[in-house]
Symmetry: D2
């Protein structure tokens, strides 16, 4: 175990003088986002990088009583079994994880790797939904107990599911969500999949005494739309058409090339425009899989708007970012906020976290208002200590 | 007078059963912006166009007691003497004013033309600053009296002045501003010129019992920066460099090709970034005169930012708009708000109008907060009735 | 006839001292492109505008013996019956045709309007393909005879057809093409529709003694691709993915929102990349109908390419143009070149006109080489006089 | 010396059975471009990467008798003395050189490092121009002799010099160029500096029996302009304004922030437009130093053009590339071509290499024609064997 001894994050739970750690159980734990979450958190705890992109590390959140980054302990489910360290090395070669980080945090990656359990269901899985939920819940409970954690937050960072699932089976994202609720865990859905919102989970949601938040992290095009659409409304300009194209490499691009998965994603994107502008303007959104882009994504938006006396004008935006690097700090933020909310006795859908989502559980669709709501939530958490 | 009889705006002051009109005195009254203001207001009053771009026509402002568009009466100063109708026809040919509008509002343009007085000072003008201020004030007072107006707001929409003016003389914009204050008029500076903010006007400002607002209308690149910069801060992303290039045709492009005039403009643009981001990032702003663009302008912005673990990402924006069509509704908004503020007994710099300006008299630099402040101001005006 | 007397184009055929005019028979004669062709030609002949965009008016073509613009006489088929003058006025209001042109060329528009015959077939048209071809051919022959023309070129500028047509019937574009060949006319297909290339016309093509050219005019995104793709190849750079989105207002946008029509268009677009790069890279092309754009179109292209040692780089292009204004001069060029080719006794597919097409009848796919081939063709035409 | 024994490039000259190596003497030998040239060539020779970006490795050049990459031997001058390996490691961390390459070619970098001599002159250098030229020439001759090379090509890849140099002294680039000629070496100027073209070197050029080529490698914005400008001319479109902004990190950005250095660069950029369009359109070019971009550069171009009937349209391009990765393969190409030209007895300015330069020694300014000239030159070299 000497390898782990050097690793502040891994030992944090025990070392922190009586304060127990907080679990972060990642559904899709061997994917790019999860790998970046685990490696990045370790790098931050080791003081190798500043906390860029982590909203919860800004001063507005200092008094909110959030669990320290050094107290986070990672585990999760995944259907593939390549080692986390291998994935991290791949991300290093693609320039997603910086030169040197992967070597520095091999220990923490190995610890997390040891806490990843097989996900499901496989195509030929003979288990019933109920059996799967029970198995997943047992995995999570075992992790929490074994690592001596105060609580565990379940975060879905798996690939986007198609909207409709054939057969009587629940979609996988909802099986995991049900397991989270069954295990008494807060739940965050960072994807457009159904998750905890599935109609079949209504009764379970009603009984559950935990907070949840979602859905679909807002990391690029929709983030921009959530700040630009309010500008058009406030300036009384008439948006005639808002068109967009997303080019995605990596796994999400492949998943979203499926029209059904893309439909789930686009529903959220459209909601941002409709809520902010009062009506959905003309225009389509395309999501293209472009493997050559690797972990990078590009979003082009074209807004045709009308000004005084019907004058025709255009705004175009081009956003080029690394999907995992955009998502990972938000995942850490959400895990900390949800854990603290649960500690503070808050349950149900957290509309206050709409800042992070394309399709939130209520609240404003304008980013500035969502930020105000988030800061107010932090104050409420601070007050509740 | 039969020509005017058909014109609702021109006759409004007298026809409105006892309610006296509100004067809008435009410094630079024969320019593109002023011409668009006069023609556009007439077109709106005649019901030819919806009030796109006029924030004061949205429901948030319905109870604020603003003067009706139909009660606005236009006049102004200019150093050139081409007829307003000719200018409007030129703007029609360039596609700035719509096909048909110019013909429909010839009467209103002629009325406003009759209220434009020679500006100054000319290079060889023998008059002292004091004599010029007195003459300009007399022009404004004559207009207010002759047209039986309740009050007049002076709005500077002239070309940008160089930062430094040699000789002992005040810059022209400050002569006009002093005249406005002398005449007891509210004053709005839509340009980056010194205007009422000149140090030599300090005593006059102290004595004046009128409101003023400025400076430099926010109509394109800086408008976008005022919504995008807060997003980077709220998301804890590190803006490394914010670079921009503006291509302007028309008069403003020529004025801003002068490095001293451009410096005045860029100070405001930088302030938006510095105030919103906490520090001014790397990057320059260029303003190029490109006569081929006519009345249109294009602004390209390139934001190099850093995310989680130092990942390098880029946002680019391209804004293509018609300068006059972007500015004109804001000028109408500002004239109405300033007139109503004066009526309500409010004096001094109106920080609440920061929504409209690159370099406002205080307040937040984030557009969403500026909008909230503006709506609160409208409520205050409504309460004061 | 006094109206026509003022019109140089209309009277040209008769007035030109024994030289007979050349007919240009437009399939889709009441559409935006056709209207721009007729109005624009008249405007040029009247000396109101320079010949911008007309390649055949540059010095390289001076000796080729092309019919003068003033000798062109317009007619055509269309399935709608709004007056050409009305359509031109609409285009004027949208800024496609310049302020003043429509009034100046009303006479020429009316003359052309008088030469437009009902197209087809309607959904419930009881006539056989053979009867339709005969009727269309009779229309064209009647026009040529009535106007005393030396010859007539048929140009297809109708909306794009779906790839597959149900029923046993030939697609309309091929009925018109067959009529052209039957009437002994040169034929130009400016659209991606099947036209003269339909397999069922093989025997007719074999017997015909006229030239033809196509297909699908290269006016924006594909024009750019035809110059940029050769650059990547010549520089030995590796294009990894070439993605693109087209936003089209107007009629073509609507037609291409039909996936089958879009497929026809995209085949041509892909061919340009494949032929120039040696292989088709990753990447999709989207064609969106955005009615708010009116007659304007925007094409965004994103090229992910690889340089030395696998370095990843990106080129993006944004093309904003007016579809009709881009197409119309090419239609005039093609009509003149095809007419002259027929006069010179050249028959069959004109690969030398690949400069104008997305999907030409052979030859290089690189614009520079296509231009060289075109200039060489002009020299050949000059030599043949 | 065992370290070098593993290195094919280093040992190539001796190992190649009687065929002597070719020297590549880099002025600015410790800069990013030079480091990428040395490391990249070694990586290619070792079979680690395909020859992407190397035009001379395409089949059109197979018969031209160019020196093999494995026969190239590197040395050079520089005024700084950090180790080449350190520089390569820095480029690796910035993602310019790929993960793994630096380690694989440490040996080759060390060999080249041993052949770098101090450049000059320093500000307080007491030597005369004549003494400096003699010293530089001796360095080059010593390298050629010591390594047993058939010949050496001198390539200037140093930072751009200001246009005007005060004092009587020749600019450094011209001192090096004179040394190259004195040493009987072919000379390539990859920068906009004066180099061999300085008026004071006229007599020396007249006497020299070597080939030379320049100037200013065409790697981004100007490369695009050289393919796009011909398109506008061939299509008879009227370019009204061509505006551009370059954002450069790294050394070249800093050098070009000096207006005098930028002026040298812009002269070349303008020449491409003027030669291709027949006249220089409106529009400026800005070169901004943006250190946050590191080794990457972004160029935005905005082309306002006029089509049929004066319609206004716009093309914009955004080029994002790694400067060193764009330049390095061209440097290898040029060194090979110049060496072979000298071997073939060709002397004087090589207009045939205009494909590589912004401001070539004559020939067409259109890339497609420059490529044809280059391929013809390769055929001539093949014929001369």
């Amino acid at each position: 175990m000497s390898e782990f001894a050097e690793s502040p994050a891994a030992g944090a739970a025990a070392a922190d003088g009586g304060v127990r750690g907080t679990g972060v159980w990642l559904v899709g734990a061997r994917g790019s986002v999860a790998t970046t979450v685990v490696a990045g958190c370790a790098g931050l705890v080791a003081g190798l990088y500043p906390a860029t992109g982590l909203v919860t590390e800004t001063e507005e959140f200092a008094a909110a009583g959030l669990p320290a980054l050094s107290s986070l302990v990672f585990g999760g489910h995944d259907t593939v079994d390549w080692p986390l360290v291998k994935r991290a090395e791949m991300l290093g070669e693609q320039g997603v994880l910086p030169y040197g980080l992967v070597r520095a945090v091999r220990g923490e990656l190995a610890v997390a790797d040891g806490e990843i359990r097989p996900g499901g269901p496989a195509a030929d899985d003979g288990r019933s939904d109920e059996e799967l939920i029970a198995a997943f819940a047992a995995d999570i409970e075992g992790f929490t107990r074994r690592r001596g954690l105060a609580r565990t937050v379940v975060v879905n960072v798996a690939s986007t599911e198609p909207v409709a699932v054939e057969g009587g089976r629940l979609p996988a994202s909802s099986l995991y969500a049900a397991a989270a609720l069954r295990a008494g865990c807060a739940y965050v859905n960072f994807t457009p999949s159904a998750g905890v919102g599935h109609p079949a989970l209504e009764e379970l949601r009603g009984r559950a005494d935990v907070p949840w938040a979602g859905r679909d992290g807002k990391t690029g095009q929709t983030l921009l739309r959530a700040v630009l659409a309010p500008m058009f409304r406030q300036r009384a300009l008439g948006v005639r058409a808002w068109s967009g194209t997303n080019l995605l490499g990596g796994g999400d691009g492949a998943a979203l090339a499926d029209p059904a998965a893309a439909a789930a994603k686009n529903a959220g994107k459209n909601r941002v425009l409709e809520d902010n502008l009062g009506a959905l303007p003309e225009g389509e959104v395309h999501i293209d899989e472009v493997p050559a882009l690797g972990e990078w994504k590009t979003a082009w938006d074209h807004v045709a708007f009308e000004g005084f006396l019907g004058s025709r004008m255009v705004l175009q935006t081009i956003w080029q970012g690394c999907d995992s690097a955009l998502a990972a700090p938000l995942v850490l933020d959400l895990a900390r906020l949800a854990a603290r909310a649960q500690e503070a006795g808050i349950a149900g859908g957290l509309a206050e976290l709409g800042f992070y989502f394309k399709d939130p559980d209520g609240g404003s669709a304008a980013l500035a208002e969502q930020y105000d709501a988030l800061v107010a939530f932090a104050a409420r958490l601070a007050g509740g200590r």
